[in-house]
Symmetry: C2
Subunit: 79 residues, 2 copies
């Protein structure tokens, strides 16, 4: 069954306390080469038949993400 992946990430101008907490923890643990961490959501969606890109984009942008503060990356299966 085709799998579509939707990644929801905070817009760059929105501060990300979760990512900053991870970054701080990595620094304290000695991982000094890490410059930034941003945390988002990752959805794996199984669809029946051929994925309808327009429908999936609409689902991603209106139901999975908050378009005021988040951007969406839609990854359709590569045939």
């Amino acid at each position: 069954m085709p799998e579509v992946v939707v990644d929801v990430v905070l817009k760059p101008e929105i501060s990300d306390p979760q990512g900053q907490a991870v970054l701080g923890a990595l620094g304290r643990l000695g991982h000094s080469g890490i410059r930034s961490v941003r945390q988002g959501k990752h959805f794996v969606i199984e669809v029946e038949g051929d994925p309808d890109e327009a429908e999936l984009r609409s689902i991603a942008e209106t139901l999975l993400a908050n378009p005021v503060i988040e951007d969406v990356e839609l990854h359709l299966p590569t045939d």
Copy 2:
């Protein structure tokens, strides 16, 4: 600066109430072609210099994910 993406997904045998809630909502909204939704976490990590795959895999598997219930997908930048 190189960006490494880490996707953390629940193992297939672990139930996913968040994903099931999204699936239920999509069904009620008329998106009947969606068969399953699984929700995970998506990290975008900026590293200084060349990414050290072993270090990043260790960070992903021990600090970003709970290896008892989650799997990790590491995506290094393609040169």
